[in-house]
């Protein structure tokens, strides 16, 4: 039997197909648990985060919009990440929760190239892309993503001006975007210029 893809599964889950959700669980539980464990450092908390996240997916499956340019794995991992950070700040660091921006306010169509890039990423490509970042940008991104620190908290921890940290986070993500698009889109002899949105031919 042909294996259903992620989009088929999330759409089936949105129709109340529990088996479809569990197929998504079987497909991504190791990545989800790895992410939660990396953030929380505690298997019980990590399991709570994964469980909560999948139940959120179950309850919100109908809100997944294929046209948004996200992929199911990325959406799912974002939910696992957010839940893990909530638990970390509440139960481990005892800090107030962050406030997510309303998703509905900036549901935009993302260019097709991004849909393809994100859906095709592997651990290897992501790691090699992150390795290209300057150390200070990499550090700022890791502290924000894996430890859930705000830019103010990172600035304090790193004893670096707030504006510098803001810049490192944004620039680091933008550079990652550029590198990943280049890695994904460049056929032999071509390089995709992500910031300008066009291809240029490598000469010579």
């Amino acid at each position: 039997m042909t294996e259903l893809n992620d989009i088929d599964l999330i759409q089936a889950a949105a129709q109340g197909d529990a088996d479809a959700l569990m197929s998504l669980y079987d497909r991504y539980n190791r990545l989800a648990f790895g992410l939660a464990y990396r953030i929380l450092g505690n298997p019980s908390f990590a399991e709570e985060a994964v469980q909560d996240a999948y139940l959120q997916v179950w309850n919100r499956a109908s809100s997944f919009d294929v046209s948004r340019g996200s992929n199911v794995r990325g959406w799912l991992m974002t939910i696992v990440h957010n839940r893990s950070i909530d638990i970390r700040r509440r139960d481990i660091d005892h800090k107030p929760a962050h406030v997510p921006l309303e998703d509905a306010e900036h549901r935009l169509s993302v260019p097709d190239v991004w849909r393809d890039v994100s859906a095709s990423l592997t651990q290897e490509t992501m790691r090699s892309a992150v390795a290209t970042l300057p150390q200070d940008q990499r550090r700022a991104i890791e502290l924000a993503f894996f430890e859930g620190l705000s830019h103010g908290e990172i600035a304090e921890q790193e004893q670096t001006p707030l504006g510098t940290i803001k810049g490192r986070m944004r620039l680091g993500l933008r550079k990652l975007r550029t590198v990943l698009v280049d890695q994904h889109a460049a056929p032999d002899g071509y390089e995709h210029d992500a910031d300008r949105g066009h291809f240029r031919t490598e000469v010579g």
Binding site: Q51, L101, D103, E105, R177
Partner: protein
């Protein structure tokens, strides 16, 4: 556009643009979030950049090493889903003292620390919740009966598990409505079962919230034909369970209406 306007716009672009990285990670403070939200409404460029940065930030999960969770996680998720879809089945509740966990239920008190307020949350909503919960406690202490649905069933459930029953209060309960909110400490699972629950108004849904000192967390929804719903969560982490009516089909990120149901997740209801 005159030069002063142009300079001001550039300043805005720089200021708010500098928040986009943190916004992609979801680590903005409440004030920053409100500011950026307003700015995003005016800048398609900023919205597009944020959308892209969010995708990249989400894909950073690929950096971690995969790990195998306990098989219990899969089982608990399946159980929660199945419990939530058992429409119409009566759950028999047993009011018992808490039997697992730390046994220390978070008291109903307003944190002395300022906590961020979710964007676009109805300003008086949180106060309403606390007031409702406080009113419930006062009423119980004073022996005053509120309009409420009272749980009186005391058996173990069909699986032999012991569950804890909670009292639900409604500002104005519809006639014939009955409802039970129970919690299974072993499975860390809330189950709400209702009979004669009125349909949410057309285009709207019932959205479920668990509330702690930092505010409400959306944990699920009830579709129009649902009579029961399950929510997997650790009761010790929350002070209040509530349901509001929100725009369908996806609900709201924060409550926008007064609660339809409220249950204070205090000690188990032993009053049968």
């Amino acid at each position: 556009m005159n030069p002063e306007d142009s300079t001001e716009n550039e300043r805005d672009d720089m200021h708010y643009g500098s928040l986009l990285g943190a916004a992609a990670f979801g680590t903005l403070s409440a004030e920053e979030g409100r500011e950026l939200q307003a700015y995003l409404a005016t800048s398609e460029v900023a919205r597009a950049e944020l959308a892209q940065l969010r995708i990249i930030a989400g894909d950073l999960s690929l950096l971690v090493d995969e790990r195998e969770p306990s098989p219990d996680v899969r089982r608990r998720i399946e159980q929660a889903i199945m419990a939530g879809s058992r429409a119409g089945r009566r759950q028999v509740a047993a009011p018992l003292a808490p039997t697992t966990g730390s046994g220390s239920v978070r008291p109903l008190e307003i944190s002395s620390q300022p906590s961020p307020t979710p964007i676009s949350k109805a300003p008086g909503w949180r106060n309403y919740i606390w007031a409702a919960a406080a009113s419930l406690l006062i009423a119980v202490l004073a022996g005053v009966m509120l309009d409420r649905i009272f749980l009186q069933e005391t058996d173990d459930d069909l699986d032999g598990r012991q569950t804890i029953a909670y009292e639900l209060t409604l500002p104005a309960p519809p006639p014939d409505l009955s409802a039970e909110l129970t919690y299974d400490p072993d499975r860390q699972l809330f189950v709400l079962e209702t009979e004669n629950m009125p349909d949410a108004p057309e285009g709207q849904i019932y959205q479920i919230w668990l509330i702690d000192a930092d505010g409400p967390t959306p944990v699920g929804m009830m579709a129009r034909n649902d009579s029961s719903v399950a929510v997997a969560a650790n009761r010790d982490d929350y002070a209040t369970f509530a349901i509001t009516v929100e725009p369908g089909p996806i609900g709201s990120p924060a409550p926008t209406t007064d609660p339809f149901f409220v249950a204070a997740l205090g000690p188990a209801d032993n009053s049968g």
